[in-house]
């Protein structure tokens, strides 16, 4: 909303209304509250190779494990045929198995109880909805004890997710066999599948709607607004990540990762952060067109 107002009142007004010392790179109304935005990538080439874009998530979590900031990480590893599975990882070297995006549902939170029982402090990587789940569990710990031991939440930018069967259907419609897939990516408005023979298959993101998980239709959170730190590739140059740091603990961790040469950074000006705002705004408005918007609560005293 503020963004639309800004457009209306013009640029002069914009600098005037920027009260806290200058223009912020991203609008908190669209991407949630944050402290800093950076462009980052892993210094280690091996991590970048395994990672989806800049390997920031993997490098940051490996650093958190190395430094003893957390004792375990709950993340999704890729099984046969690109089916993801949540796993508790304590060895930084094992994290490389969890690197890279998987375009299917991995119930990461389902391992949280086990991780909290066995470890003093735990980091969890997840989609925005999974981070919301962890925050709710911290506020209303109905069945989950010791949620204070969740020391770090890393949210991944997310437009939508796919049930595994629907992912298979999508690939089938693209004439691709899942076993031939080398790499999957969503970039520049396209879903791109690279097969082992080097061929590239693409579908516009707009056409993914009918394959996506129904519950994603009315999600309004693109950047994981409740996470300690959010990572994505949207708006970053190729091979880099956008890193939105939201809490003080995350800021300290990122700083120490940069000082220890685990992460390299770049001036956010070199990316196109408007894209992050645009996709966040799209996700906040598309709910109005979804069929969920016509859903009504069932009530025993009110006829359907």
């Amino acid at each position: 909303m503020r963004k639309i107002l800004r457009k209306l009142v013009g640029k002069e007004e914009e600098t005037e209304t920027g009260t806290d010392g200058g223009e912020r790179p991203l609008d908190p109304e669209l991407v949630g509250e944050y402290r800093t935005v950076l462009l980052t990538r892993a210094t280690d080439e091996r991590v970048r190779e395994a990672g989806q874009d800049g390997g920031t998530t993997t490098a940051l979590l490996a650093h958190a494990l190395d430094e003893g900031h957390v004792d375990a990480v709950v993340a999704a590893v890729k099984k046969n045929g690109w089916k993801p599975e949540p796993r508790i990882i304590t060895d930084p070297d094992e994290l490389i198995e969890a690197a890279g995006s998987k375009y299917s549902i991995s119930p990461n939170v389902s391992l949280l109880n086990e991780a909290l029982a066995a470890h003093e402090s735990v980091a969890i990587v997840g989609t925005p909805c999974q981070i919301t789940a962890v925050r709710k569990a911290q506020k209303y710990p109905y069945g989950l004890p010791d949620t204070d031991a969740v020391a770090l939440t890393v949210g991944i930018f997310c437009t939508e997710n796919f049930e595994y069967d629907n992912l298979l259907a999508l690939l089938k419609d693209m004439n691709v066999d899942i076993d031939d897939v080398e790499r999957m990516d969503i970039s520049k408005g396209k879903f791109i599948v690279l097969t082992k023979d080097g061929e590239e298959h693409t579908v516009p993101v707009k056409e993914l709607g009918r394959y996506s998980n129904e519950a994603c239709e009315y999600c309004t959170d693109f950047t994981a607004e409740e996470a300690d730190v959010s990572v994505g590739s949207v708006g970053a140059p190729d091979g880099w990540n956008v890193l939105i740091v939201r809490t003080e603990t995350a800021e300290e961790l990122v700083q120490s990762a940069v000082e220890n040469d685990v992460l390299e950074t770049k001036d956010p000006e070199e990316g196109n952060l408007n894209l992050v705002e645009k996709l966040s705004e799209d996700k906040k408005t598309r709910i109005q067109a979804s069929k969920c918007a016509t859903w009504r609560p069932y009530h025993p005293n009110v006829p359907l």
């Binding site: 999974q130 010791d146 069932y298």
Partner: protein, 241 residues
């Protein structure tokens, strides 16, 4: 706060967790039926733990007498709030004769709040005590609605769904507690709301939910406590931050 505990048809785990939470948060239990206390308690909050057999007049009288003396009444745990496993026996076993006469304590007395769980974790009770102590109305809202007569509530029908979480009133209207005590399997099990995060599975005290992208409920293990529903990030709205 001065706290009283009335334990009815219960296993005692809720009361034990309450004692632990009180010890941690510095609230004092001044009256407890588990310590043989009788009569009218002089306390700020009364926690009722367990279900009631309505053929047992002595217990019903005790319930009336105790609740009338205290300003704030809370059903502690699923037996008191919705009936829990006292009503729907574990393992889909045919109910014993007495199960037809057992109801949650909240059916026989007015309660202000309900804490779901079997048992609710010490952390959950401590979080509730903190919210109550600070009179944090927004944080108390879900406990309040969960304790209420949801059938008397009317949903705001013309209001479209405008966010990933619904207001707690609207969502509870979707659950038919007479069929499923406190939990709404449609919300948990059907695709409409499920994002496949796995929170229900990790929160379930009976390990009755396994994840295969979406939750699969093993009915043989389900104890009808409603923890999955209350924990689900999509079941009701929570305040941010």
């Amino acid at each position: 706060m001065k706290i009283a505990v009335l334990s009815l048809m219960a296993c005692g785990a809720c009361a034990r967790n309450l004692e632990e939470a009180c010890h941690e948060t510095g609230h004092e239990i001044v009256w407890s039926s588990l310590d043989g206390d009788t009569g009218k308690p002089d306390a700020d909050v009364l926690f009722i733990d367990g279900a009631v057999d309505f053929t047992d007049h002595e217990t019903l009288e005790k319930l009336q007498e105790t609740t009338s003396a205290v300003g704030t009444v809370v059903s502690l745990g699923s037996c008191a709030a919705t009936g829990g496993f006292e009503r729907h026996v574990i393992g889909m076993r045919d109910p014993d004769r007495y199960h037809f006469t057992v109801f949650p304590a909240a059916k026989f007395t007015d309660t202000d709040y309900a804490i779901t769980g079997c048992p609710p974790t010490t952390d959950a009770i401590a979080a509730f005590l903190q919210a109550l102590d600070e009179r944090d109305e927004e944080a108390l809202r879900p406990y309040k609605v969960l304790s209420g007569d949801y059938h008397a509530l009317k949903p705001d029908l013309p209001a479209p769904v405008t966010g990933p979480e619904l207001p707690v009133e609207d969502v509870l209207l979707t659950s038919n507690k007479d069929l499923c005590l406190g939990c709404d399997l449609d919300v948990i099990e059907k695709d409409l709301f499920c994002v496949g995060c796995g929170t229900c599975s990790t929160a379930c005290p009976a390990m009755a939910i396994v994840m295969d992208e979406k939750p699969v409920i093993r009915q043989e293990r389900c104890i009808r406590c409603g923890t999955c529903f209350a924990s689900c990030p999509r079941s009701f709205k929570t305040t941010r931050g």
